[in-house]
């Protein structure tokens, strides 16, 4: 049983392999510039982190382990950028109280989802690409790191 956070994660968007996924990647890069400013970057990074966490969850459900693993890494990357955005906003004299609350709720929700994944996923997975050396994907380590990144808040 997990504590239910009121924070709502987005619907899954296009998944790797779809033409729309490639378009989404372009859109993601363009939006990085559109979301300028401390609060803009806060929103952008949080939205991307949410999106990739949902993507990872969905891909794990479909046993697309390598792609899911990569999505989780991306979610972590974006999540780690959020706190510096808030610190920058604070140093620019902006009141960040509501954003800090939102980030805490988001972190809580992310951890909730990651804990669920920790139970259902194997500790590690051997990914064997064709004619290449196999790669060991350490899921437990990756999820532990993801949770850790979200607990530092």
């Amino acid at each position: 049983m997990f504590a239910e956070s009121s924070y709502v994660l987005p619907y899954p968007s296009a998944m790797p392999g779809s033409i729309f996924y490639k378009l989404n990647l372009i859109q993601e890069e363009l939006l990085r510039f559109w979301y300028f400013g401390d609060f803009g970057q806060f929103k952008y990074n949080l939205a991307q982190s949410d999106k990739y966490l949902v993507e990872a969850k969905t891909l794990f459900d479909y046993k697309q382990h390598l792609l899911a693993y990569q999505a989780l890494q991306k979610s972590d990357k974006y999540f780690k950028k959020i706190k510096p955005n808030l610190l920058s906003a604070k140093s620019n004299g902006k009141n960040t109280e509501d954003k800090e609350k939102l980030l805490r709720e988001a972190a809580e929700k992310h951890i909730e989802e990651l804990e669920k994944l920790k139970i259902v996923l194997p500790p590690a997975f051997e990914w064997k690409p064709e004619e290449q050396q196999s790669i060991i994907l350490n899921f437990q380590e990756a999820i532990k790191n993801s949770i850790g990144a979200r607990k530092v808040l």
Binding site: W34, Y35, F39, G40, K43, N92
Partner: protein
Amino acid sequence: MSIFILTLVLFSIFTYSFVDINLSYLKGLYTGLYLNNRFLLSAVYSILIFILFGFSYFLLSNIDRLKVNLKRIILLIVLATIFAYPAALTFDIFNYVTSARVTFLYQENPYIIYPIEFLDDPYLAFTRAANKTALYGPFWIFLTGIPYFAGLGNFILTLFSFKAFIALFYIGTVYFMRKLDKTAAFFFALNPLVIIESLVSSHNDIVMIFFALLSFYLFYRRKFVFSILSIVGSIFIKPATLFLFPIYLGMIKDRIIGKKINQEKAFRYSAIFMFVIFLLSPLREELYPWYASWFIVFTAFFHKNKFLQNLVLVFSLGLMLRYVPYMATGGYFGTTPIIRNIFMITPAFIFLLFTWLKKYFPSR
């Protein structure tokens, strides 16, 4: 003419009855009249509006006889209204200031970040649409940098910088209209709706109109690139002028085939198209009185058509009366929307009935 200007001065003074209780910067001018004496204010407003429209009609009917000097009257109109409180009838000017603040002070994208997200911002107390992102085009946001920085961070100075900045576009519009047709300039500049909405309430529609008209002017002067840039600028203030594109295509076609550009035809279709988009505006939100300036600027060129000019003037009067029900009751719902529409159409209806009766039952 002096009574017209005097009424505008009185109207400007009257606007201070509406100083918002939350507007701490004008605390000394707060009277609470708009909360406690609604009927009195509605009556005063209606009287002033009727006087303004009456004298506007008189001036426009006697322009040649009175030898009205356009430059002089424009200067007097601007001076009479520039210091009016701009948020008496609508609060849009606060939205302009707040969007500029989000962009230039906080350096955030006003299309993503809501003003309400700046929790400590003192302007939130009186900004009505603080829960909305920027409502206008990027060219407008860019232009607001000028009055915003001219305000030097002082609210009062910023507010009146915005007013003065928008007034320049009213003057500019009249200037280019005068270059195209001097009498048309009078019919636009002396319409009380145009004056109140552009110079008292300082709506940015006049800025959009300025660039649209400048674009026509440049096209007629064969400066096509600048003309296109100007119409694009207008669209990027408010997209209503996008409806002028078919007229542009027609003019470009005429230019390509070597046909003489028919200025009158272009303005006729512009007036029709802008009137159509005006009528369609309730689909998006509601029929705001200041939207009428979109077509008035073009109908003014048909000043020889007395019926049309009088119809535009009485319809403008009806639109200005739309403010009365809310002013009197303080409510947007219930019977207010119905009464508002009745007030809007009644003057035009009476005028049309009167014209019809005059036509079919001429006095002997």
